[in-house]
Amino acid sequence: MTTNGRRVAVLGGIRIPFARQNGPYARASNQDMLTATLDALVDKYGLQGEVLGEVAAGGVLKHSRDFNLTRECVLGSKLAPETPAYDVQQACGTGLETTILVANKIALGQVEAAVAGGFDTTSDAPIAVNEDLRQVLLEANRAKSNAQRLKALAKIRPQHIVPQIPRNAEPHTGLSMGEHQAITTKEWGIGREEQDELAVASHRNLAAAYDTGFQDDLVVPFLGLERDQNLRPDTSVEKLAKLKPVFGGENGTMTAGNSTPLTDGASAVLLASEQWASERGIPVQAYLLDAETAAVDYVHKREGLLMAPTYAVPRLLARHGLTLQDFDFYEIHEAFASQVLCTLRAWEDPVYCKERLGLEQPLGSIDRDKLNVRGGSLAAGHPFGATGGKIVGVLAKLLHEQGSGRGLISICAAGGMGVTAIMEAA
């Protein structure tokens, strides 16, 4: 990063198409998906047998046995087995956070080239044993004699067969992310139609991205899937208007059409120092200028669970003397259409900007024609850990094609967090 240390080059990204839960990837593991993605990246940039500085990747839903998943994937990939790797988990921000982590090491001169990525499967999800049963089994394990062991095991009851399935809920509030966002949506007065319009634009833009060949070197087919399974090129506001609300009660405005579905997939991005890239003749698509991660206290302070990016972005802008309007592209992760709309509305709102963000003036509006121009998560789907890598890959290519300009990334994450970054054309 130019802010501190060397410039960090984004050379490009790749991903597998995203599949809906229990779709074509129902039997694919996180390891299968990330390994396939890493190999596609290796093929794209001719990295067979290369020792890279590191590979950082992560996902939200992982089996306990996958403690070193990314390293296992590297060992199974075409990269040199001497490439170190580690796992990262920051909910939906994981893919962008891994990008930031490896970028920082490149900026500091600790590594020359690295891969950042992410993955998630909601189909091949980890299922844990019943918590009560787990206690019984651990007690049996601690037993010193067979008699003690039998006594412990005798506590097993029929209800212990019910397993613990991962829930999409905030541990501190017990509310699902959708329920949290429904509160924020209502607070910001976001209507149904504007959400559906945003969803339609997402599908239309992603469909166009495939039709015009933009996705050709960004997406590689996997298990017979060539495009994102969730993509509905022919959807319309009229069609979406027929859907019943799924969050926010009967009068809610959030539907399956304007919320992202549970999805499986993986993505990866190649970052490097400028020198490393030029030595290999790999063109630099963009530079990662800076990044900022924020968190809000949604538990005690009436903050919206997914509003942390609204805090991160102004800090990022201030650091570089930029305004919100100084961008050619805005990549705002569409966890829910209303999350994007709440974020934009908050930045336009004098009250929020002054009272919460401590700004004298609102950040203002953005040109909506620059928002998620190649589609967003509503169309593509959102395998939690994979979204960041997908977005970095798309934005790098957009900036590269334009040959100039600047892009803003904003990703909201569970736990009241938000990960944001600025990229500039090379």
Binding site: T185, K186, E187, W188, G189, I190, G191, R192, N251, T253, R345, D349, P350, V351, C353, K354, E355, R356, P362
Partner: protein, 469 residues
């Protein structure tokens, strides 16, 4: 206290019966008690695009410490931010039925032509049925004569019809007012906003009030005791509305000098003694009364800040049956005496800078009343005093306003025949009579040092009576 009918229809059975047979169901009105907040409950602050009063309104609401919501409207959001109010957004599309407001405040000043009146519709249409019991609706506009274009003048004048009609539509003791704020008088609206938002204005509805520019400053005012250190003269202070005026002005911190006729001396002393004021017994129609009042005020208090011409009598008879004395008594006490007293006070320079004169007119003076030709003439004359002397006293830094009470529950109205009394009580938007304190509170609003811009108003305290409207 509510009248018997109001008490009856507010019992569980009374409510059912009155609803079944379509009787008016007056809501017992909330009234102010010292120490309570200006009002309790959230307020929705809206604005027309280009509205220039919402900022001043937001500052007042912030000073009150009100919970303010705003629609997603640029001027309103900016105003809230400028006033440091963390205002939640109200969007009727997604609001639940439980989202109700104690007050709706709408800045209509940006409405520059008749088509833009639609913005007032858009604000009130989804919110008018969200006004709570004893709620308040306040519309802010610009005086049409100060508008830059005829189109704007027409639109601003049109808002009067809206404000008055809202007063007739809101239920359960809610009221509605329109405040026309002159250009440059934005900083003068606080006392009026506080009054019309609070239970002090319980029986005032459908009024159009004008707030103009003023030089006076009231920085650091104690809103609990705005008249602290002030001297207030109240004529006819021994009973009824006059007693109530004396009580409210004393509560607001004033030293009250009560005036009444010698026959009322004991009652007067009882009132002023209780209020730690002082009394002056004389007949205000005596030739030397004005001089005696001026001398008394100058000698004992160095002058006077607030003058309330409350003393008044009725001598009801149809004109053909009325003798000359009945005519003349009413005219002399109600209309001539206030003019003479004011002249003497000004001549002796007894009225201090930023002084206040408040007269008591009547609905009869506006509408006329059979059997009250003398009274109605005198009370219409009071309105004449406000318009004729207003500009002159304004030059001396004094404001001149009048209240026009409607049906107020007093000994006088208690003596009326039942049919006349019930008609007077029910034929208004609140379906009940007012109390003397309602008149007194309105007078106290005029009397406040913060009301320097409130000048030349005839404000009815009548529950928006149909009579004379």
């Amino acid at each position: 206290m509510a009248d018997r009918y109001t008490q009856l229809v507010n019992t569980p059975i009374g409510r059912i019966v009155s609803k079944q047979i379509g009787l008016p169901t007056p809501t017992p009105l909330e009234r102010y008690k010292p120490g309570q907040p200006v009002f309790d409950g959230p307020v929705l602050l809206g604005a027309s695009s280009g509205g220039t009063l919402v900022g001043a309104a937001a500052k007042v609401l912030a000073a009150i410490g009100a919970t303010v919501h705003t629609p997603l409207q640029e001027e309103a959001r900016q105003a809230a931010a400028d006033a440091d109010i963390e205002a939640p957004i109200f969007n009727p599309e997604v609001a639940s039925e439980e989202d109700r407001f104690k007050a709706l405040v709408f800045d209509a000043s940006g409405i520059a032509d008749s088509a833009q009146l639609r913005e007032a519709y858009e604000f009130f249409h989804p919110t008018i049925r969200r006004v709570r019991s004893s709620g308040r609706v306040i519309v802010l506009g610009r005086p049409h004569e100060d508008c830059e274009t005829p189109q704007a003048a027409v639109a601003q004048r049109a808002i009067e019809g809206l404000g008055r009609s809202i007063g007739k539509e809101v239920r359960r003791g809610a009221t509605a007012q329109l405040i026309y704020v002159a250009p440059g008088a934005e900083g003068q609206i606080e006392s009026s906003l506080r009054f019309f938002l609070s239970p002090k204005s319980a029986y005032v509805s459908g009024q159009v009030v004008r707030v103009g520019t003023a030089n006076a400053s009231w920085e650091g005012i104690d809103w609990e005791r705005p008249l602290a250190g002030k001297v207030a003269l109240v004529t006819g202070a021994s009973r009824g509305i006059g007693e109530s005026i004396a009580e409210v002005l004393a509560r607001d911190g004033a030293h009250v000098v009560g005036v009444d006729v010698p026959a009322q001396e004991r009652e007067l002393e009882r009132v002023t003694g209780r209020l730690r004021g002082s009394s002056l017994t004389l007949d205000i129609t005596d030739p030397d009364a004005p001089e005696r009042i001026a001398s008394h005020l100058l000698e004992h208090h160095g002058g006077v800040d607030v003058v309330i011409h409350n003393a008044g009598v009725t001598r009801d008879k149809t004109l053909g049956r009325m003798n000359e004395e009945q005519w003349q008594t009413v005219i002399e006490i109600n209309l001539i005496a206030p003019q003479r007293i004011d002249r003497a006070l000004f001549e002796r320079q007894a009225i201090r800078q930023n002084g206040r004169i408040v007269l008591v007119s009547s609905i009869s003076g506006i509408a006329g009343n059979a059997g009250q030709t003398n009274y109605a003439t005198s009370k219409a004359g009071i309105i004449g005093i406000v318009s004729a002397y207003g500009p002159g006293v304004a030059q001396r830094g004094v404001t001149l306003n009048a209240v026009a009470p409607g049906f107020i529950e007093t000994q006088m109205t208690a003596a009326m025949p039942i049919a006349t009394r019930e008609a007077g009580r029910r034929m208004n938007s609140l379906s009940q009579g007012g109390l003397p304190v309602d008149v007194a509170e309105t007078i106290a609003w005029f009397a406040s040092p913060a009301s320097a811009g409130v000048h030349g108003n005839i404000t009815r305290v009548c529950g928006q009576s149909m009579i004379g409207a």
